[in-house]
Amino acid sequence: MFEYAPAPESRSVVDLKPSYGLFIGGDFVEPGDGGSFKSINPASEEVLAEVAEAGPGDVDRAVRAARRAYDEVWGPMSGRDRAKYLFRIARIVQERARELAVLESLDNGKPIRESRDVDIPLVAAHFFYYAGWADKLGHAGFGPDPRPLGVAGQVIPWNFPLLMLAWKIAPALATGNTVVLKPAETTPLTALLFAEICQQADLPPGVVNIVTGAGATGQALVEHDGVAKVAFTGSTDVGRQIARSVAGTRKKLTLELGGKAANIVFDDAPVDQAVEGIVNGIFFNQGHVCCAGSRLLVQESVYDEVLVALKRRMAQLRLGDPLDKNTDIGAINSAAQLDRIRTLTEIGSAEGAERWSPPCELPDRGFWFAPTIFTGVSQTHRIARDEIFGPVLSVLTFRTPAEAVEKANNTPYGLSAGIWTDKGSRILWMADRLRAGVVWANTFNKFDPTSPFGGFKESGYGREGGRQGLEAYLDV
């Protein structure tokens, strides 16, 4: 393999402020009863900015601002006019795409190739898609005049910071709700840049409010009486706590939680394409993907062939500077996440699975983990059951389609699955039997604003995206 010259994207397009306040009622304000924390670049551990941490009083202020905007402006506004604001936002996101992509890679550690080519284009696409729904809600299949719910409290994770914001805010605003959104504590910066975009679009004050902070801020938001709708994306454990805390209230709840997807390769699959799909399925975004294909199920007869090709392909992955346009694998998002990945992989070795990583030099500073596969994995191993949320793949085998279905479904999760085979009838047979909200056949990790996404079983409830995604924000 020849060496690539470094091809770093310039940081100069991003104008970082030393500190950021909370975005409440259309303005950046200092926290009243909160503190502050720092957001760092996980690739270098450099401090990027100081960010306000919202206390319960700040959350209350934000919910009140959202309620006022709902009652006085956004609720009464026609769908036609709401649509125009969302279209404006979509356009500004496109105009500022490079700035957003660079900032996302700086704050999150994901390769610029992904933030530039996947995250940000999808963000704009989501606003475009839902903008068009704002004045057509009576045609969405929920009755002639579906009503919004009020203030939506939204808590999002750190793996796709701006994309998750778009998944939450676009349908909420299109349906006439106003929002208070809490980004993850390790990746708040693009949400704050989005707040500036709202200002630039002249979005009425209070329609979008951003409260930065950690778990306590999220809890205060979810439990606030003024919130009519709670939307959460994150871990299954936190999802369970939220489901308990909204029990007995009339708050509508949607949860998008963890996964442990099976990526199933049959002996008639084109091996090179399947290997590309396997790599994309688990190493995309450092494996920080709830629908990542973290359990590879290979039909026994092609196991050796697939493993050889997979290792050869993995040896070509480039790990390093997220801002380098040649980088395939960026930094792990935080020290805490790196710890979790290390702990689980050590358990994998201790339980007897065989570990392999390509030769790979890790940078001295920042949080890094080499792409890793485990072979000889059995269903009882923790690396086959627990969501690792890192670039770690567990490989299992199967003999018959029925066994593949059995093993794929043998998890409390049910978010996604992959099937690789040349046989169309087998794809449809498998797709019927896999208990997962998204099934990718001969592809993996594809997203589109028109397509509903969400899980069965303990992967949560409700769908985001598509016509079905409107339901979460309507009184139906």
């Binding site: 299949g141 594809k446 069965f456």
Partner: protein, 286 residues
């Protein structure tokens, strides 16, 4: 309904002694007594008082029936629901004899017919192809969520029960129903209708007894996928069950906020509450 007492009628013949019915549970298509051996009196009869073990047995039966029932064609499921309406029509007088108003029996029969017709339409109405921006084809379609635990409303005893059971099963779910303790006889009689309607055993399981006692076992059961709290009238009890349901993130249909007009058009909400959307992708190309 004379079950006599050995008296002599006007013609000098001894009056016939009637055969009294023992009321049991309905689990897996069979009519077992409660394993606990307990019962409670209703209208001079004894009705089985379901236990925690009965709840577990019913969930087991419901789980076992999911694969077959959800795999049945929509056409076939519709036929079976319509068959329930046919059988219920034939037993109309029996329900009236139990004190169910005739109009309510008629409405309950018609409700089976309404839901029977939905079996092969709900996928068309709630599923769709998505115009993806790329060389892919994908399709979103609703699928049953699995086993649904139901706390049935007490009133109207028959129509209320039918209105919560039919929408859950027409889409391919199976149910474990805790029948309200005040009026169990129409429910038990309905189970006789279901048992003779080609409905596979385990698709509907009806447990009489005290939902306040068994509800928490059902709500906390890790093999139940969804919970319908329509019959819950005590908000605190509802909250307790909803909390228990969070253990495995069951889909919860909360208790109604006000009186329900059971005779009104039911809409589709009770069906969609227990459906998942599955989206299947495939590349397009040559």
């Amino acid at each position: 309904m004379s079950d006599g007492g050995g008296m002599v009628d006007g013609g000098g013949r001894p009056e016939r002694v009637g055969v009294r019915k023992t009321y049991k549970l309905f689990i897996g298509g069979k009519f077992p007594r409660s394993e606990s051996g307990r019962s409670y009196p209703v209208q001079n009869s004894n009705v089985a008082l379901a236990s925690r073990k009965d709840v577990r047995d019913a969930v087991l039966a419901a789980r076992a029936a999911v694969k077959g029932w959800s795999g049945t064609t929509a056409y076939n499921r519709g036929q079976i629901l319509y068959r329930v309406a046919e059988m219920l029509e034939g037993r109309r007088d029996q329900f009236v004899g139990l004190g169910v108003p005739a109009a309510e029996v008629d409405e309950a029969i018609d409700r089976w017919v309404w839901y029977a017709g939905w079996s092969d339409k709900i996928t068309q109405v709630y599923g769709n192809a998505n115009p993806v921006a790329g060389p892919y084809f994908n399709l979103s379609a609703p699928e049953p969520t699995g086993v649904v635990g139901v706390l049935a409303p007490a009133e109207p005893a028959l129509l209320g029960l039918v209105s919560v059971v039919a929408p859950a099963i027409v889409t391919g779910n199976t149910v474990v129903v805790l029948v309200a303790d005040t009026s169990p006889l129409p429910a038990i009689t309905l189970s006789e209708v279901l048992a003779t309607s080609d409905l596979p055993g385990g698709v509907v399981n009806l447990l009489t007894g005290r939902p306040t006692e068994t509800g928490s076992w059902l709500a906390g059961h890790m093999d139940v996928n969804a919970l319908d709290l329509t019959g819950v009238t005590d908000p605190e009890f509802g909250t307790e069950l909803e909390r228990a349901a969070a253990g495995n993130l069951k889909r919860v249909l909360r208790p109604p906020t006000g009186p329900v007009d059971w005779a009104a058009d039911p809409g589709t909400g009770r069906m969609t509450a227990f459906l998942e959307t599955k989206t299947v992708w495939h590349p397009k190309g040559i």
